[in-house]
């Protein structure tokens, strides 16, 4: 019981005070797991692989996996709730305020200004991702396919993502078998 509570508090703190989105939370949770000293580096690496490969918010996924490893299914549940609780309550509180002031020009300009910042943040993230992930022909093809399918043809994001993934995976395995043959 004590164990579960301390787990909950640990993840609540992470959820409440980690600003910077998924990747940052990943680093913070990883650091906390190392600090705990109960998990081997390999176990931590496995957890991260699992949490990032699966769709969904990395922070809650990772909390779930870490909690599971540390304290079974109850631990998993408690960790996820811990991570989600502070953001949930914060947004709930802000939502009720925002909804009451919907037509307000000040609020509108506040968000309009924010959207300028968001464009920059997304742009930077995009650039970083392109530089690291698009490093070959199949990757470029996958990248372009996904973008064009959505922007040009308005397909459902699932289909666009799936098509790009197929191309990328196919390219990877072709490259793999090609190297195998020449070796």
């Amino acid at each position: 019981m004590q164990r579960l509570w301390s787990l909950f508090v640990r993840f609540f703190r992470i959820g409440a005070f980690t600003i910077g989105g998924g990747i940052v939370m990943l680093g913070v949770i990883e650091a906390e797991m190392r600090a705990l000293g109960e998990l081997s580096d390999e176990e931590i690496a496995d957890m991260i692989v699992l949490a990032t490969a699966v769709p969904g918010p990395i922070a809650t996924n990772l909390s779930f996996v870490a909690g599971r490893v540390l304290a079974g299914w109850p631990g998993a549940l408690v960790s996820v709730i811990g991570t989600s609780l502070a953001p949930f309550l914060t947004i709930l509180f802000l939502s009720s305020i925002i909804l009451r002031h919907l037509g307000n020009p000040w609020l509108g300009s506040f968000f309009l200004g924010a959207s300028a910042g968001v464009v920059v943040v997304v742009g930077n993230s995009l650039w970083k991702m392109i530089r690291t992930a698009v490093d070959g022909f199949p990757q470029a093809a996958a990248f372009v396919t996904t973008a064009v399918l959505m922007l040009g043809f308005g397909v459902h994001p699932f289909i666009a993502l799936g098509a790009g993934a197929l191309i990328s995976i196919a390219g990877e395995s072709l490259r793999g078998s090609g190297e195998g043959e020449s070796a």
């Binding site: 769709p55 918010p57 990395i58 924010a114 943040v121 992930a133």
Partner: protein
């Protein structure tokens, strides 16, 4: 009750598409909430994303809570969030079970799968970028007066970009968004469309 169930279904879908984390969910949220069903206007969508990024917590989670509240009150926000967080957990649980059966092979397979997905995720980010940037581009030239708010915003984007290169803001992009929001707030009279 109906709205709650629909909210859960929609955010379960958003959760399942959210490969590659936070920002890549933006096109999914946009498609499900603006394109596929008229739940949010483009403006509301823009505000949702901005709010979700400014506050602690994953962007998808915050969006679910906010949109859920907007459309279904407290219970809407709760169940939308539960659907968003819970659906991937089901997938993880399944994978954990698979891994317990054949762990090492499974692990490297999952890792390779995730890496292979990244170019497609980059494609998603392009879509996210375009969805957010397009409204900021001036569409018609009516008069300088009418154009002033749009030019101001573009200037703000430029300033934000310059600032984002600085070390401090690299670690905390939320700060840029917050500061840009404050600038917007201060420029309220200028940003009103005449």
């Amino acid at each position: 009750m109906n709205i709650i169930l629909t909210l859960m279904a929609v955010f379960a879908k958003v959760a399942l598409g959210a490969f590659g984390g936070g920002l890549a969910t933006i096109p999914f949220i946009h498609y499900e909430l603006v394109v596929a069903r008229p739940w949010l206007t483009e403006t509301m969508f823009r505000d949702t994303i901005a709010l979700a990024q400014m506050t602690p917590g994953p962007i998808a989670l915050n969006s679910a809570t906010f949109v859920g509240y907007r459309l279904g009150g407290f219970w809407g926000s709760l169940w939308a969030t539960v659907a968003l967080v819970g659906t991937p957990i089901l997938v993880i649980s399944f994978l954990l079970w698979l891994m317990s059966l054949a762990s090492k092979k499974m692990r490297s397979r999952i890792d390779r799968f995730q890496k292979a997905l990244r170019p497609a995720v980059a494609g998603m980010l392009v879509v996210a970028f375009w969805t957010l940037a397009k409204p900021l581009i001036p569409s018609r030239f009516e008069s300088f007066r009418a154009l002033a708010p749009e030019l101001l915003l573009l200037a703000l984007v430029g300033v934000c970009f310059v600032f984002s290169r600085l070390k401090l803001f690299r670690s905390y992009p939320q700060l840029i968004i917050l500061l840009a929001a404050v600038v917007g707030l201060c420029c309220t009279p200028l940003l009103q469309v005449p």
